[in-house]
């Protein structure tokens, strides 16, 4: 016996049942999920939409640290000073986004719902590999929009309950998924941020040291890349730093991040870092 199909309580026959997939459910219910629709980007110049920039992730002794700056740019202008680019995904993972802000956030929202929906329907959470794969499919579905300038390139990191270790994945616009052993960086400042992490990275870092390294990487990226926002001491805006381990996803409180930034600035000052930054801005 099947339930009569009522519009507001969605039930399906055996053939068209979307199973535990939320995007499948959206399609079956006739609600458009804009991610990946070829016409979603439309025609015309989209370079003026807000873009989020630099994110980094690195593994440490107990799991993974992810961090992202807070700036969104539209062309040469700063469009937002305090957007967030690192989000929880499930209980033990996080996703960090670089690219067009609107589609990125929608993708994150769909991804979060996809994971939660799966967990509720199936009665147990999706494995970390399954989650990474889901995100891969969403990025791939966005390819047409990406080619029109609405790029979405996420980093995905989490605690793998089966393997009992932290893992991280990098993506490209085609949905290609690359598992990284040590660290990954994305967005316009990724070259500089990635280099800082590369030089400071050691296997088995303490979680606190990993957070400091991520903060340092974002600071240096902001120093070299105009689209990356540094710590804003006047407005009290600091990058989002999260730690993911066996206990789950936990965002560092702003005062903690501020404290770490001030320590970094003090260290740079002591090392004569001021001379270095003067040299950097001397060209103007």
């Amino acid at each position: 016996m099947s339930l009569p199909l009522l519009r507001s309580l969605p039930t399906f026959g055996a053939g068209e049942d979307p199973g535990p997939s939320f995007t499948g459910l959206l399609a079956a219910a006739g609600l458009p999920a804009d991610i990946g629709r070829p016409d979603a980007a439309g025609q015309g110049d989209l370079s003026g939409v807000a873009h989020g920039t630099t994110v980094v992730a690195l593994r440490h002794r107990d799991g993974v640290v992810m961090a992202g700056d807070r700036r969104a740019t539209a062309g040469n202008l700063i469009s937002h000073r305090s957007i967030e680019k690192v989000y929880p995904a499930g209980r033990h993972a996080g996703v960090a986004i670089a690219g067009a802000a609107g589609p990125s956030m929608e993708m994150v929202r769909l991804f979060q719902l996809q994971l939660e929906h799966y967990e509720k329907v199936e009665g147990q959470p999706l494995s970390l590999d399954g989650q990474a794969n889901q995100l891969s499919q969403m990025v791939r579905a966005n390819l047409t929009s990406a080619l029109r300038g609405l790029l979405v390139v996420p980093l995905f990191a989490g605690w793998d309950e089966r393997r009992q270790c932290g893992r991280l994945f990098q993506y490209d616009v085609t949905g290609g998924r690359y598992e990284e052993q040590d660290y990954a960086a994305g967005g316009s400042g990724s070259l500089h941020a990635g280099t800082v992490v590369k030089l400071g990275f050691r296997p088995g870092l303490e979680p606190a040291a990993a957070a400091d390294l991520a903060i340092s990487a974002l600071f240096q990226a902001a120093d070299e890349d105009s689209a990356t926002g540094g710590p804003d001491l006047v407005r009290g805006i600091f990058p989002v730093v999260v730690n993911i381990d066996a206990d789950g996803y936990r965002r560092l409180e702003d005062p903690q991040v501020e404290e770490r930034f001030r320590a970094l600035l003090a260290a740079l000052d002591a090392d004569g870092g001021a001379a270095q930054s003067e040299g950097g801005s001397g060209g103007g």
Binding site: M1, L3, L6, S8, L9, P10, T11, L25, G123
Partner: protein, 240 residues
């Protein structure tokens, strides 16, 4: 040409109701009680995998007794309804009342129009930030909705269990005491139930966004291990 025998509508409805009630009475019962931090749901269930209690949304839980495949179908439809609604509007617009009405519609429709009524009784439970505003929507096989506020009992022996709960329940109980009251009411004077026989979950407003939490066997054991009188200062097992 053979004419079908005339059967009075009252008789048809009565037969269907008897059929559904018999099916439900064959299974074990379930109780939901309000307590200090929200709602505690406790079912007699020997299976560790076929659940009677589950999460629908941030603050909404589902429980069902009767035929497993039938209430599980309703559970999944509820999860879909809630997630779609939360996606289309906002998370705070998802509420138990509208879901309960949907369930009532569907059960009522099946009861009157299909050959066989659903042999289920379900519960949609919701908590809010404030204590004392818990909602328990108890929906019967024919679509009848009861809005209960302190506790709810589903299943064959509902009346006897409800009577026992009346003596034991207090909305200010902590998780351990609420579980003890629920288990004692389910078991009655002649039986003892242990953690292995139970499925326990809470909707706990101290947990943040997703308030639903399933309690493992070890945790249920630990909560039940506490002496009955020591409910005042007992460590709160639900707020880790």
């Amino acid at each position: 040409m053979n004419m079908p025998f005339y059967v009075a509508p009252e008789q048809i409805m009565k037969d269907r109701a008897d059929y559904a009630r018999k099916g439900i009475a064959r299974g074990k019962s379930l109780v939901a009680v309000t307590y200090r931090d929200g709602i505690l749901l406790c079912a007699e269930n020997v299976s560790n995998t076929l659940r009677k209690i589950s999460e629908i949304y941030d603050r909404i839980a589902f429980a069902g007794v009767g035929k497993y495949n039938e209430f599980d179908q309703l559970r999944i439809a509820g999860v879909r309804h809630a997630d779609l609604k939360g996606y289309a509007y906002s998370r705070q617009d998802v509420e138990a009342r509208s879901l309960a009405n949907q369930y009532a519609q569907i059960l009522g429709q099946i009861f009157t129009h299909e050959m066989k009524p659903m042999e289920v009784e379900i519960l949609v439970a919701e908590i809010s930030d404030e204590a004392g505003t818990e909602q328990l929507f108890h929906i019967l096989y024919d679509g009848t909705v009861n809005d209960e506020s302190r506790w709810s009992v589903l299943g064959g022996e509902a009346e006897a269990i409800s009577e026992r709960l009346g003596d034991l329940h207090d909305a200010d109980l902590d998780a351990a005491a609420a579980l003890r009251a629920a288990v004692d009411a389910l078991a009655g004077p002649e039986r003892t139930l242990v953690a292995d026989d139970l499925e326990v979950a809470t909707l706990d407003r101290t947990l943040g966004r997703r308030c639903f939490r399933r309690l493992g066997i070890a945790e249920v054991d630990a909560l039940l291990g506490q002496p009955r009188a020591a409910s005042g200062e007992a460590p709160d097992g639900a707020a880790e």
